[in-house]
């Protein structure tokens, strides 16, 4: 039996007394591009922060490759943290290091490779995201879209089997966004990387997401699960259908009923 790459079990998240998510449960099968969708304020980022171990859910458990990131401590927690890559919405690059140094950071800190090998591995990832020419620039000297791609290169540094991306294409121009989508698709297709992607960009959703959960603030949790192209046509909830049909016609393949 192949266990899920990520297994979310009845997770609740609250800030003080205000409950944001309650009883959220889903599995992410290996090798899939999995979407966490929903309007702003629906708890996407809160859930993602729990998945990557930055926040403890107020109830429930989260397994990465079968091991609980919620309860792991010490070396086990480090092992889990190093088993995935995470790209933050704002990039979160270290401001006083160049793009290359940022992409090399996990290699520098976590491997015993000689410096030439670390350099080569980091440059390979930069080439993958199309940033070879910007390797020696500081984050403050490149555009927002380049920052996001550099963050993706850093998340890929250790060639993880699991990738978490928070709004990877938000704020990018459509061409760069489409290139990024193609890259994510390729990573999962060729390298078998499982990707969990938080997004509200429907173009990306329909282009790359295999399966998704849709969160809604009012429901404090999941209102639909499944293939977004099917959900858009036949979700039982009227709200989910209209959410997935916003601006239909611009949203790429799979729809277009206007």
């Amino acid at each position: 039996m192949s266990e899920a790459a990520v297994s979310v079990r009845d997770v609740s998240v609250s800030y003080g007394e205000s409950v944001v998510l309650s009883g959220v449960a889903f599995d992410v099968p290996r090798g899939e591009v999995f979407g966490i969708l929903g309007g702003s304020g629906s708890g996407k980022t809160s859930l993602l922060r729990c998945l990557v171990g930055l926040r403890k859910p107020s109830a429930g458990d989260i397994l990465l490759g079968g091991a609980s990131i919620v309860h792991a401590e010490g070396d086990e927690r480090l092992r889990l943290l190093r088993s995935f890559g995470m790209a933050f919405q704002g990039g979160a690059l270290l401001g006083n290091r160049t793009v290359l140094e940022n992409a090399r950071l996990p290699l520098d800190e976590l491997t015993d490779l000689p410096s030439e090998a670390r350099d080569a591995a980091a440059r390979e990832k930069l080439a993958l995201v199309g940033l070879t020419h910007a390797a020696d620039r500081l984050p403050s000297e490149i555009s927002g879209g380049m920052v996001k791609r550099a963050a993706l290169a850093r998340a890929l540094a250790l060639t993880p089997g699991l990738l978490f991306l928070d709004e990877p294409s938000a704020g990018l121009d459509p061409i760069t966004a489409a290139e990024l989508d193609a890259l994510i698709r390729r990573l999962s297709g060729e390298l078998g990387v499982t990707t969990v992607i938080v997004t509200h960009e429907l173009a990306s959703v329909f282009a790359i997401v295999d399966r998704a959960v849709v969160l809604r603030a009012e429901a404090k949790g999941i209102v639909a699960t499944g293939d977004p192209r099917e959900l858009r046509r036949s979700a039982s909830s009227e709200w989910v259908r209209s959410f997935l049909n916003r601006g239909a016609g611009f949203a790429g393949p799979g729809g277009g009923d206007g």
């Binding site: 205000s18 930055l54 943290l81 190093r82 995470m86 979160a92 690059l93 401001g95 996990p106 800190e109």
Partner: protein
Amino acid sequence: MTREGRGGGSGEETTVELGSAPDAGPVLTLAGPLDMATVARAWRDADRLLGSAPGAALDARGVTSCDAAGLALLDHLVTRHGARPDGLPAPLADRLSRFRDEREAAARSRRRPEASFVEGLGAGARGFGRDVAEQVAFLGAVVRALGAALRSPRLWRASETLGLAHRAGVEALGIVGLINFLLGLIIAFVGGDILARFGAQVFVADAIGIVMVRELGPIMTAIVVAGRSGSAFAAELGTMRVNEEVDALETMGLAPVPLLVLPRVVAGTVATPLLALYGMLAGVSAGLLQMSLSGFPLAVSGGRLLEAMTIGHLVIGVAKSVVFGALVSAVGCLRGLQAGRGPSAVGLAATRAVVAGIVLVIVADAVFAVVTTVLGV
């Protein structure tokens, strides 16, 4: 019958009238549009009319439109004046009851009201206790990181640490020299003035030596380091916190203390005593300069100084500077890592770093005073 009226935006008039029905007692009749343009006036009118007729029935059949402000007025009439809403048309009654539900839900979810003074004191004391515990735990983490670095030289991050030490030390030479020089002058002036009355002006040299080397040199230097480097550390780490850089490190399995804090604490701990030595020199020179201006040749004042200044004073002064430097830079890093979110978080972290740094320096100095007195050094 009293009648108040006012033209609505559309020319339609909003009226508020108090009348009475034979079997129902007083009746407040509202008519016309109840909206943002008309409610302010209607509100005042209704308040005045109902002041003398609590528990009146509401008659709103003539209301032609009603927005949220209008609903707030109806709600006010019912809650504050005990007006009876039974005469409202069904759609309006519906909207009013939904409005009241939402208002109550909002009131329930609103944050707790300001705490009382006593509660505030209690919370303050709890917060102080937690703060001290956090600082101790943080120092523990720094010492652990230091231990790890002692075993594995790669963890020293030498070039980064040197850069930080340069900024904390070399770039502060000017201000540290100036402050300690002026301080030395002041002490020599005031001390000379007082001691001259006893014909003991030559002992100013003793005072200058001991005060500058053992007390004020280290303290003033540490305060400058708190203001320059403690705040800079807090701002740097606070910015990293706000930009999620610290979170990103954590998801890579990298702890912020060895990576970000240790180089800064080491830099501050090395730079501060060196700066303090320079400050002591500036202060003492200023004192000797002042003495020579008031007629004591350098041979005399310098001789007194060397006689009064034992190596013990110097050792204590330098030891204090080491501790001050470690405390100021560590608390700067801690305040940065504790920064909240949002635009004011970084500034707040820097301010808190300076305040905490200065407090820690003074407290540590008091501890030194007690310990050295007890030990008799």
